[in-house]
């Protein structure tokens, strides 16, 4: 079974080709079946491969065949399908099409294909009336293929192929309704901002090649120890790429705009999978980062800062999808915070739980928007609880998970991050994370109360159209709700006496910083201290909920008063710290200026030269034309002048 892991990205690729090339001629039912079927097949194959992986012992290498390499110490199976760039000379770059299944990529493929499948099913209902049905599913399948390539790649180059591919699909899907200029522009913004990050990533890869002579992940990891300053630089550059892809400061600005795309796209790409690629990459390169403490610290600080900042913005947004978008940015910050303190498995744990509840929240929001006939502004919602019961209940579960209320999944994963931060002595980071947790609970319940409670604030006509979503949309919601509720079982904390299953499973694949391993011992001893951390985290979450309840349900007139009293702060938060405007003024304007200058140069100098040469020939022709007077006498004069010239030349020379 392990030999077939290369087929996992290939099945959705086949689905993309089928729907992309033949979509116009297929019925909607066929298109949906092909797309979902491809992902389902990928999911089943992934399950089988992971089962095989977990049961594999020392002897796998013998029977696996020549293309399968098995590393029992790291529980790592690599299948090489072919050679991409053959080694042309000693020291030249050689890249193979290699796919690796180890505990880390196992987790990723299960999440990607599992949640991806649910979202594909949901999309059948959500996009049912859209004329670009086939194109949508083709792009979605292509995305799946690229994401799986990213996650399974054995070389940074293969990873980068997937990295770029998901960026492309993100652009295609954000700007899916491209006839709307604003939406198309949002797609471009995502792509361009990502590109800046990609540039950092590529520089990191180049430096990596210069230093290590290869871009194979395992080889680089083996040689990362004791490489000094170069490793730090590489780690930082790769992190720049992660900043772009996973929407951290300062390259997060594309994610809120990406909400222009269809909501299932937001759920899949901008919540569960693509944006987590940066976290995956950092975890995959854990050995590199562990050897570069400065870079690791940077990751942690950036993650914590992003988490806090994004949460503050989410407090006052009125568009339901924007709240969720900033929430995603914030939660991604948590994941990077975890990696930054060396708790890579905690980061991955949060990645998994976040995929569940954030996808759930987005799909639920999609259901709300669908019911409201396209309305996304919460001030115009309210009282939907009665009309959309299934949506309400599932979204409530998602909200509880996001807020970190025990015993749902979010509580355990968020707590593990904060716990590890506290244990390693990063008190400021813990403080920031906890405050952000308070804000998180607050804004997510604000969302719930504004949307589902209170008096309905919509127009009568909109109220008339309210309807619960069809089963094809609500069933995935329920499945995700169950996962959000029970997902905590994956990583029950050691402090309470449980074995942390996920941490143990991931241990062969991830590195730990030396200080951390030392603290592990003391951590167990301080298990008692960890318990009160759990209690504090739970209390914070409940407190956040309580404040939200007060402001939005018990005394709904309060938020307006607070906004009036803290007018300036409110405006800054609502305007998202005007970061977009600053970027526009500082960067975009100057680039436009440069582009304008280059355009001028191209048009006037380059084209001018070409046109000028044409004009020059024309002018020369006009001049020479004057010689054709038609008068024989003039021609005779020319003859004679020629004779004179020849004579002069011969005589005078």
């Amino acid at each position: 079974m392990l030999r077939w892991i290369w087929a996992i990205p290939l099945l959705p690729l086949a689905g993309f080709l089928a729907n992309g090339l033949l979509g116009r001629r297929l019925s909607k039912r066929a298109i949906g079946t092909i797309a979902c079927g491809a992902v389902l097949a990928s999911f089943l194959l992934s399950v089988g491969a992971v089962v095989a992986l977990s049961g594999a012992g020392e002897d796998l290498g013998a029977g696996g065949g020549p293309s399968l390499r098995w590393d029992p110490e790291h529980r790592r199976a690599q299948v090489t399908v072919g050679t991409w760039i053959p080694a042309s000379a000693a020291g030249a770059l050689a890249v193979d099409w290699g796919f690796v299944l180890d505990p880390l990529s196992a987790v990723m493929i299960l999440v990607v294909t599992g949640v991806g499948f649910l979202i594909h099913v949901y999309s059948i209902g959500y996009m049912h009336d859209d004329p670009g049905y086939a194109r949508y599913f083709a792009y979605l399948n292509l995305f799946m293929a690229m994401m799986l390539t990213l996650v399974l790649g054995s070389s940074y180059v293969v990873l980068f192929v997937g990295w770029e591919g998901v960026g492309l699909c993100s652009y295609l899907l954000i700007g899916f309704w491209y006839q709307d200029v604003a939406k198309a522009t949002a797609g471009m913004k995502a792509f361009l901002v990502n590109r800046i990050g990609d540039f950092g990533f590529m520089l990191g890869m180049l430096l990596m090649f210069v230093h290590f002579g290869t871009l194979d992940i395992q080889t680089v990891a083996a040689g990362a120890g004791g490489a000094g300053a170069a490793v730090t630089l590489i780690a930082l550059l790769l992190f720049v790429g992660a900043t772009g892809k996973s929407a951290q400061v300062p390259l997060y600005v594309w994610l809120p705009d990406a909400m222009a795309g269809p909501t299932p796209v937001s759920a899949l790409i901008h919540a569960a999978t693509m944006v987590t690629a940066g976290v995956y990459m950092v975890a995959r390169s854990s050995v590199v980062y562990v050897n570069a403490p400065a870079a690791l610290a940077t990751v942690a600080v950036v993650g914590a800062a992003t988490a806090f900042l994004a949460a503050t913005i989410a407090l006052v947004q009125s568009d339901i999808k924007k709240v969720l978008a900033y929430s995603t940015v914030s939660q991604l910050g948590y994941m990077f915070l975890a990696c930054g303190v060396g708790a890579f498995s905690a980061g991955i744990f949060h990645l998994v739980t976040h995929a569940f509840f954030k996808a759930l929240l987005f799909l639920g929001a999609g259901s709300v928007i669908h019911a409201m006939s396209g309305e996304q502004e919460m001030p115009r919602m309210g009282g939907l609880r009665a009309h959309l019961p299934a949506t309400y209940r599932t979204m409530l579960i998602g909200a509880l998970a996001l807020a970190g209320i025990p015993p749902l999944a979010g509580f355990f994963s968020k707590d593990e991050i904060l716990g590890k931060a506290w244990e390693d002595g990063h008190l400021w980071l813990w403080m920031m994370g906890s405050v952000t947790a308070l804000l998180t609970a607050f804004y997510v319940f604000r969302l719930i109360y504004l949307t589902f409670f209170g008096a309905p604030r919509m127009s009568a006509e909109a109220r008339h159209h309210l309807h619960e979503s069809p089963g094809v949309m609500t069933v995935p919601l329920w499945i995700l709700a169950v996962l959000s509720a029970a997902g905590g079982l994956l990583g029950l904390p050691a402090a309470l006496g449980f074995g942390n299953f996920l941490e143990g499973w991931l241990e062969p694949a991830l590195a730990s910083p030396p200080a951390h391993t030392a603290a592990e011992g003391s951590g167990h001893a301080a298990a008692g201290g960890h318990v009160w951390l759990l209690v504090v985290a739970a209390l914070i979450a409940v407190a956040g909920w309580a404040v939200a309840r007060t402001l939005y349900q018990a005394r709904p007139e309060t938020p307006a008063r607070i906004a009036a009293r803290a007018g300036g702060l409110y405006r800054v938060l609502k305007g998202k710290y005007f970061v977009d405007e600053i970027y526009q003024a500082v960067f975009v304007r100057s680039f436009f200026g440069g582009a304008w200058a280059l355009d001028r140069f191209d048009r006037h100098v380059v084209d001018g030269t070409v046109n000028g040469s044409g004009a020059g020939v024309q002018i020369a022709g006009q001049i020479v034309k004057l010689f054709h007077t038609g008068y024989v006498r003039n021609y005779a004069l020319s003859f004679f002048l020629g004779v004179v010239f020849i004579l002069w030349f011969l005589l005078v020379r």
Binding site: V643, V644, V652
Partner: protein, 183 residues
């Protein structure tokens, strides 16, 4: 004929040269075509004088008879026939043409002078050991002995020219806006 060592030749030469030059200028510059033709006749006569001075009496005679006598008369006939007025309207080919013509001519003349100065052969004149030089007999001897074919061809040429002239001049005689020449 023998030549006498008198400055007479020089004087004749200078006068004839002056007249020839003036006549040539008249040919080229005067407006009236009749004046041009007559000036050319004068010029040809001067040339005949030169031929005499240069011990070519036969050629001098031929010059006067054929050139001045026949060809120029032909010119005058045509001028009279066409009843040309003097050139009235300003030239259309540009005044630049005239200026350049003069300049080119001057350049050419100076180059000729330069060439003459450069040439190394000394024109030592053969003294009159050769008494028959230039006589009819000598010329005839030369022509019929060494250049007989050319002579025959020349006569054919004249025949062709005659026929051609007749044909061309007559072919257009049937045009309604012209007078019928006497066949």
């Amino acid at each position: 004929m023998s030549l006498e060592a008198l400055p007479l030749e020089m004087i004749v030469f200078v006068i004839t040269a002056a007249v020839a030059a003036v006549a040539a200028l008249l040919v080229v510059l005067h407006r009236n075509p009749v004046v041009n033709a007559v000036a050319l006749i004068v010029n040809l006569a001067c040339l005949a004088v030169f031929f005499l001075l240069l011990r070519a009496p036969f050629l001098a005679a031929v010059q006067v008879i054929v050139y001045a006598g026949a060809i120029m008369v032909l010119f005058l006939f045509v001028i009279m026939l066409l009843d040309l007025k003097a050139e009235l309207h300003p030239p259309r080919a540009g005044a630049f043409q005239r200026v350049m013509a003069v300049f080119a001519g001057a350049a050419f003349l100076s180059l000729m002078v330069l060439a003459m100065r450069r040439s190394r052969s000394t024109f030592a004149m053969k003294e009159v050991a050769d008494a028959g030089h230039g006589t009819v007999e000598r010329v005839a001897e030369e022509m019929f002995r060494n250049h007989l074919v050319s002579f025959e061809l020349a006569s054919v040429l004249l025949l062709v020219a005659m026929v051609g002239a007749l044909v061309i001049a007559r072919a257009f005689a049937e045009t309604p806006d012209s007078q019928e020449p006497s066949a």
